[in-house]
Assembly symmetry: C2
Homo-oligomer: 334 residues x 2
Amino acid sequence: MGPKRQPTLDEVAARAGVSRSAASRVINNARHVSQAKRDAVERAVAELGFVPNPTARALATQQVGAVVLALSHHDPAQFTDPFFAQIILGVNAELEKTDLELLLVLANTTQGQARLQRILKSRRADGVMLMALRGDDPLAALADQHDVPVVFGGRPLHAEPRWYVDADNRGGSRLATEHLIGLGRRHIAVITGQMDTDAGASRHRGYLDAMAVAGLSPSRVEHGDFTEPSGAAAMTRLLAAYPEVDAVVAGSDAAAAGALRALKAHGRSVPGDVAVVGFDDLLTAQHTDPQLTTVHQPIHGLGREMAKMLLSLIAGEEPHPLILPTRLVRRASA
Amino acid sequence: MGPKRQPTLDEVAARAGVSRSAASRVINNARHVSQAKRDAVERAVAELGFVPNPTARALATQQVGAVVLALSHHDPAQFTDPFFAQIILGVNAELEKTDLELLLVLANTTQGQARLQRILKSRRADGVMLMALRGDDPLAALADQHDVPVVFGGRPLHAEPRWYVDADNRGGSRLATEHLIGLGRRHIAVITGQMDTDAGASRHRGYLDAMAVAGLSPSRVEHGDFTEPSGAAAMTRLLAAYPEVDAVVAGSDAAAAGALRALKAHGRSVPGDVAVVGFDDLLTAQHTDPQLTTVHQPIHGLGREMAKMLLSLIAGEEPHPLILPTRLVRRASA
DNA sequence: AGGGTTATTGGAAGCGCTCCCGGGCCCTAC
DNA sequence: GTAGGGCCCGGGAGCGCTTCCAATAACCCT
């Protein structure tokens, strides 16, 4: 094992022959220190390998130096979706510019939610990013209960939080549907994501928008939960109940992949018999056969913007909610 | 916003009419407190909604109440692999039983590594779990540099850390290869994962083991990096350089999926022309066409065991390194 | 030259908690 | 009756840092 004990600021000060206050000013890069003392302290810091103790600093400044990313997913399988990995990557990218640490809280269980509450209540973090809320999520009220900035990733179903960043789900889904209509498809079904989710509901609404504008009656809706198996199951139900289906807009790439699988199992060709569009534009959309036409949403950017927004809140600014654009990516499946 | 300031232990003590020491004893559930005072304090705690300040506690006890999970992956795409999500899930499951928080550090960039160093040096965490080391990873020496317990997930390439948990990569890969041999395949190629990784190298070695035992000469090796595209590319090279190939053992499920894709593109049937086995047994192994025969490794368990081991280290015990068993899961691709 | 800024400095008071210690107290054993 | 040995209990000294403050020192202007 290495050094048993880290040097303290007092030791640095002693070695540099200055007061602790002066040493503190130097390491915080504050004013009112002569160049001579500054040099002396910096030398001592280097010689001793001093690193300020964040705990002590946190206690004194009332700033923890950490933020939490709370993910309120439905089940383990969902967390496994690369979507979350991308979010984490985005958040991390932004946080790397600062010296805030990232606390990860999986708030899907009651236990996890309690933990999040505790963290906020005891001010163990300077801010929170909250993702993927279910409609009834008790966490939605979090923002008001504690004196800690909270930014939402995606909106909760029945609330408009003060600060959030979201993708243009409705617009993207509308784009996708319009594309199918433009292709001449008329029996366009939809496989939704979880409808107790704003993303799920909004994407469905986007589909309805496009159908209404085109004067088509919404054909058929099957509910899924964004996952591959749910997409496959929904597609199977769809084929049974609505065999003339010639296009489907899925709530996610995973669901679309599931639909592809089910279509193949039933001997329908894609896009020949049935055109399919996904949503997300994950890497996996390029690994399906055929490659997936899908709605691109900037997931990494979503994570980044959440972090940015939180940082600016912590800095005392007043950022505005943000809706990131989505766009259609044309590939082979539609 | 909610309550501006949390009550302190002093206020609790005052309200309960006891000394701060007594109040502290109560909330720490320590001895030497009369039932009367205990009740009084507990009432005050409830009324005030007191939650002890972890920062102050950490400063006093020299225990932070947090551990870090550091992921040293190669690139963003790799982090996106559900493998990591599973690890996180496993770690989290174990941590949920305690009141330790999870600090997530993406240590793939120089910046991330520096951050990890800083965290350790300033004792911002009580322990570290370190995953997925490249061969040359400077982080491998971490364990010796600081007075903080470190457990490795997977072994670094040229070192045997004091504490680690790993899957039986070599054994699993051998199993897979033996299975192919048992199927009567004789032109068995391998698509490796990153060879500067113990997992990559060990899986390759397992393949060699099986080939040697069967008296077969290792046919052909193409190097990949565990990812889907790398698997597809490797398979394409393989088909060109070694057209008689009738089986391939891939370094991961993703690579196997890529191989499947390439095979299909070249008009080879699976498993008819070429049998394919993967490694990992992710959910996605069931979503390929055909479903993937693969080596199951308990990823979630790996995360759990890492956390367990770290907890026991923190508790001052001396756990032993752990190698988790792998097993072959037979599906359609081989 | 004198009054008024403005820089620098170290002392000391916290931040909110833990935990050692010594003083009461009561009970038991001799 | 009294010396020990538990239990309770509160005082107080930290944990390592920031930051306010009062005291000097240096400097500017007219």
